[in-house]
Symmetry: C2
Subunit: 227 residues, 2 copies
């Protein structure tokens, strides 16, 4: 088994969630059947949202590159990052180390392509993800078009609520409204594309065929680490 | 804030649990308010129970020392280990690195001393912990005597059940019987001294004044990391 390095802490709840999903994804009789991980629960990465949305001047890329180097120093043989928005800085991470990094965005777009029948994919993510077009290019390469919920202030409010208070009825209501809007605009296939929303997947519209990008990453981690 | 290195994976559920407890123990508005951790979810540490109870020849100490070195290479400034039994090998860890390691056993014995009125402390832990006297010395230094449940085969069966299947009524019943026996023998103050039992703290006797050694470690982590 290969040791998987997790660039985590963005947010810390999502990092715990991916560890739980990896644990649940492996059939085990004893500790040693589970995958070895080294997890950088780095809560001090400069805010991606501040940098991409609010004109912040502190670039998170050097901190992410440093995390990758420290994880490799700690024994990581594959890297994975349970944060959609931070994938905007993936090139800086890949340049910093020689071990491979799994691409949650590409994995998710490929899965969306296997589900979509009308080519429209809803992206339930942070406004920063929409602004930098993180999913647009990869979806386009699969012949798909990204659609985003219109009330970005509400989306951002939900993410902030989840970061500060954890799951709440208010956050669920915002995610539900966004998901229902996307269904009505033709995006039945939807990506839960913010690891804060991964904490409340039950809030998406019952009419949506939604999946969590985090789950695609978990599948790839288990496959790659046990190869 | 100091980055805390977690010697984890013994078992992996307990490592996730301590991360949740650290998260819950810190008031936060945003990711950056939380403690930075680097977590070695090392599921491949040779079995402590095999080595200490079953005559196994593979000593876990070198693997633990290697974890400590890798965590320090990954940026850890303080070390903590959410596994009671593995504290038997703490000297090998302390020798391997220069950063301090918190002592879950000593922290818990000191807390037990603050609670006990008759000097008898029940230890709900693995038979390996009893065999090597992990708590006996530290409790004695606080003027306390350790008491253990008598049916060690059952205790071990519960730990194995928790490692393979997670919390179950069978595991809870065994822990409850052990805890009730200790109360009847005079040990009202009890340590939940196996991180597998940390997954089912509700199973202890209602008459016991029990606390989880993991919670003492969490308190010390938060205090030390924020100093």
């Amino acid at each position: 088994m290969k040791r998987v390095g997790i660039l985590g802490g963005m947010g810390p709840e999502a990092t715990i969630l991916i560890m739980q999903k990896i644990l649940a994804g492996v059939a085990a009789q004893d500790d040693s059947d589970h995958l070895p991980l080294i997890v950088d629960q780095n809560t001090q990465v400069p805010s991606r949202i501040k940098h991409l949305l609010e004109g912040g001047t502190v670039d998170p890329a050097p901190a992410l590159a440093d995390m990758a180097r420290r994880l490799v120093a700690g024994g990581a043989e594959i890297l994975a990052m349970p944060c959609n928005t931070a994938h905007h800085y993936a090139d800086a991470i890949r340049t910093a180390v020689t071990v491979p990094m799994l691409d949650m965005i590409e994995l998710s777009c490929a899965h969306a392509a296997s589900l979509s029948d009308n080519g429209i994919v809803g992206v339930l993510g942070s406004p920063a993800v929409r602004k930098v077009g993180l999913f647009d290019g990869p979806l386009k390469r699969h012949g798909l078009t990204a659609l985003y919920a219109q009330d970005e202030a509400q989306t951002l409010a939900a993410i902030r609520l989840l970061k500060s208070k954890g799951p709440s009825p208010e956050a669920r209501a915002i995610l539900k409204t966004a998901s229902e809007e996307l269904v009505q605009r033709g995006a039945t296939v939807q990506l839960i594309a913010c690891t804060e929303f991964s904490l409340i997947p039950e809030a998406v519209s019952a009419q949506a065929n939604a999946f969590d990008t985090l789950d695609q990453l978990v599948k790839a981690i288990i496959t790659q680490a046990t190869q």
